[in-house]
């Protein structure tokens, strides 16, 4: 692509943002686990893609479920990237980012909002999350809600464990869940197995 075209595209994106035509802005950012995809609407952060998730698939899904006006616009995600960097460095224990919950409805959204209130460095069980969301018996559904969390890391589903302390599952893979809990001082640094 010519430099003139690249420059024209830069300007285009700035104008699209000004004219409220940027419905979904996205960017990638580095993390200790690999690249993350961050997507945001005018309401707030709507999606975080973990390193093992397919970015193209995720963007196609956003185009379908939110709006096809999806554009890469790193500048729009500066604050989210900054806070995630600080989090991985262990320098902040909460995020101050507006969130867009629209990708989860009903019970799932209630579970995720309850998860979002679990403090840094603490864990809860799937049962407790089900109760907080208004249906103590829906433990399995609470587990599904965790597994479908569209905003992992920021909405800390890694802090939800099985009753009794077993790790349960994680969309980014169990080693990542373990490492996050170590970062937050919940788990001891375990020798590599």
């Amino acid at each position: 692509m010519s430099t003139a075209t690249v420059q024209a595209i830069e300007g285009l994106k700035a104008r699209a943002a000004e004219e409220s035509l940027l419905d979904v802005a996205y960017a990638t950012t580095d993390s200790p686990f690999g690249p993350l995809l961050l997507a945001q609407t005018r309401r707030g952060l709507v999606r975080v893609g973990l390193p093992n998730q397919d970015s193209d698939e995720l963007l196609t899904d956003l185009a379908k479920r939110v709006s096809p006006r999806v554009l890469e616009a790193p500048g729009e995600l500066d604050e989210a990237r900054r806070e995630l960097d600080l989090y991985f460095e262990g320098r902040i224990d909460s995020f101050d980012l507006p969130l867009d919950w629209r990708l989860s409805g009903g019970f799932r959204q209630r579970v995720l909002r309850a998860i979002n209130r679990i403090p840094y460095g603490q864990t809860r069980s799937y049962t407790e999350m089900a109760r907080k969301a208004g249906n103590e018996r829906a433990v399995r559904a609470a587990g599904t809600a965790c597994g479908s969390n569209p905003i992992p890391l920021v909405v800390p589903c890694h802090r939800v464990l099985r009753t009794g302390g077993a790790l349960g599952g994680y969309g980014g893979g169990l080693p990542m869940k373990e490492a996050l809990l170590q970062l937050e001082g919940v788990l001891d640094e375990s020798p590599a197995s």
Binding site: M1, Q7, G11, Y26, L59, P68, V70
Partner: protein, 155 residues
């Protein structure tokens, strides 16, 4: 109905073609603004687009209208470029020949658009006709006249 792809994909795939055609149609100075106007219009209409099978044709039609707007706003026909040599070859995009593009830029609007659509974007006559809003026969004629003139200019 199939879902529309993320607009970024559309931009990635067609930015070069749109830029090339605008380069030919309005020259280097006007191209950036026309390019942005083209994609802003496209972005505005995109969610309601019902058929995504010919996104390139759709974009080039918009680009052509923006080029016409550009010339109308300036209230005159394009002036031949005096110093074609100052057209730098942009990185990574094949620039066949600066002198040739300057000559294309100096053609009357219909001929210029027909030549740019045919050789800049590799469109068949039927698509050129659709983009220009004329019959395929008229498109063929504009292309023919444009090429004849270019051959004479560059001979």
């Amino acid at each position: 109905m199939t879902a529309l792809p993320p607009f970024q994909t559309v931009l990635d795939e067609h930015a070069n073609a749109v830029m090339a055609i605008l380069h030919g149609a309005v020259g280097r100075d006007g191209a950036e603004d026309c390019f942005q106007e083209t994609f802003l219009s496209a972005l505005r209409a995109y969610p309601k687009l019902e058929d995504d099978r010919n996104l390139r044709g759709w974009l080039l039609t918009i680009a052509h209208r923006k080029a016409i707007d550009h010339h109308r706003a300036r209230g005159r026909a394009p002036v031949p470029v005096a110093e074609p040599a100052e057209l730098a070859a942009p990185d990574g995009f094949p620039e066949p020949d600066a002198g040739l593009w300057a000559a294309v830029g100096a053609l009357p609007p219909k001929q210029r658009a027909a030549v740019a659509l045919r050789y800049g974007s590799d469109l068949p006559h039927s698509k050129i006709a659709a983009a220009l809003g004329c019959s395929p026969e008229a498109a063929r004629r504009s292309l023919h006249e444009g090429l004849k003139r270019l051959r004479k200019e560059l001979a």
